[in-house]
Symmetry: C2
Subunit: 260 residues, 2 copies
């Protein structure tokens, strides 16, 4: 049976996942496109429902994927092209999406073994930056991302897109600044912060592990209190007019230096 009404109750629930409030309440997110659905499945994310528009789904690869996931017992909802378009944020929708369960770790579950590197982001505001940083964390082989709230939602569609699927592969923690500070003091992990005012060039420092790289928000950077919690503050030298780089670029530059 193909759902043809955009007002269908299930479709309305899925459409509501555009809103963060509905994502938080349900613990779900909406994942669109053949590539992202594939990445979510391969990363072991829990796919709750597949949404398929047979009229749009022309890729043989995607057909095989849908069959394979259906054999694993994942519920499949078939919808008309019009209904799919009502859910889609894409100009050329591919006819495949999924409702996926969010996955969060607790701070207490973060393992700080030798070689472990985590990124902690203080109140990141831009979901694109957040997704891009998840992609870099995956790429460099860091362990995961600790998000200090209030922050952008890593399960925002823009964050998922920018992550290229890494959102499902990279462990995510959400916490408050007070909790993060208490956790850092309790376990003594090395924390490295970034500021254009720091005296140490990031290329001149040594980085023991386990380590947490602490990055401030796009607009504010790290506060004095946040810098005071760090064992080491490093600067990325700025030679031009600006005093900062894009948050995702700065995080990428530092992560690749830490890992080398």
């Amino acid at each position: 049976m193909i759902i043809t009404s955009p007002a269908n109750a299930t479709i309305k629930m899925i459409r509501s996942l555009r809103q963060r409030k509905a994502r938080e309440a349900s613990g779900l997110c909406f994942v669109e496109g053949i590539r992202l659905v594939t990445e979510a499945a391969e990363a072991g994310a829990e796919l709750v429902q597949l949404v398929v528009a047979p009229a749009l789904l022309t890729s043989a690869f995607a057909h095989d994927l849908v069959e394979q996931l259906a054999r694993q017992g994942i519920e499949r909802i078939e919808v008309s092209a019009e209904v799919f378009a009502s859910l889609s944020a894409k100009d050329g929708p591919q006819g495949l999406a999924a409702v996926v369960r969010q996955r969060w770790l607790e701070l207490a579950e973060v393992r700080l073994d030798q070689g472990a590197r985590w990124v902690a982001l203080v109140e990141p505001a831009d979901p694109g930056n957040l997704g891009t940083i998840m992609r870099t964390v995956d790429g460099v082989g860091a362990r995961g991302v600790i998000i200090v709230e209030p922050a952008a939602d890593p399960y925002d569609p823009a964050a998922l897109r920018a992550s290229m699927g890494a959102a499902f592969a990279v462990p995510l923690v959400r916490t408050s600044w007070a909790e993060l500070a208490a956790w850092k003091r309790a376990n003594g992990v090395t924390m490295v912060g970034s500021s254009d005012q720091a005296a140490t060039d990031f290329r001149q420092a040594a980085y023991p592990t386990p380590l947490v790289l602490l990055m401030g928000s796009e607009r504010q950077g790290l506060s004095a209190e946040q810098q005071a919690l760090c064992d080491l503050m490093v600067a990325i030298p700025m030679r031009g007019r600006s005093d900062s780089l894009n948050l995702a670029v700065a995080t990428g530059i530092l992560l690749y230096e830490l890992a080398s």
Copy 2:
């Protein structure tokens, strides 16, 4: 006299600058917000017209800026809040914008002196990436950006925003692949390309100057022909599921390595 009609001919011309076609035809762009207008002015960009909405412009700093620019003889257009909103892409418009002349260099004007580092982007598709790369080029002290067309427009509002004003400080060249290849062969500048398949870890290479860092497009990377033009191919090691980083992140990581 305050313009109160969104259909005013000057206002329509300015609004048309949202479209790339109109930007190309006029050689102009639309720069919105106190920060970006300030950056454009300080970087020596040619401000053709200031657009001011007195009802929205509450910042004393911005008032001083407007007075100072008016004294330099820059035409000032005063508009109602409604007209300003009809031009603005912002939710909370600040009441200040400018029409600014685009600035482009020819390839032949690129100076390849000792220490010079340029980035050449092959068909970058995302204006946000392009703007973020201009910001990084400014930050690291590289000389400028060579854009191989077809490409996103660095004078797109999203690119200008992401550049944080660096679009007006960083020299920009646009060219074709054939022209770039001929220019490289003619002057023998070292060209370094990036690919996940390259045998050399980017941290293990030496980077003579003058140098051009060649980056492929978001989707395609560098073609075999493009790689063949490079004197050196380097890889950023990828440890996770993905085979690539975001283009602006990868460019930032490589630029800071080249410059160190």
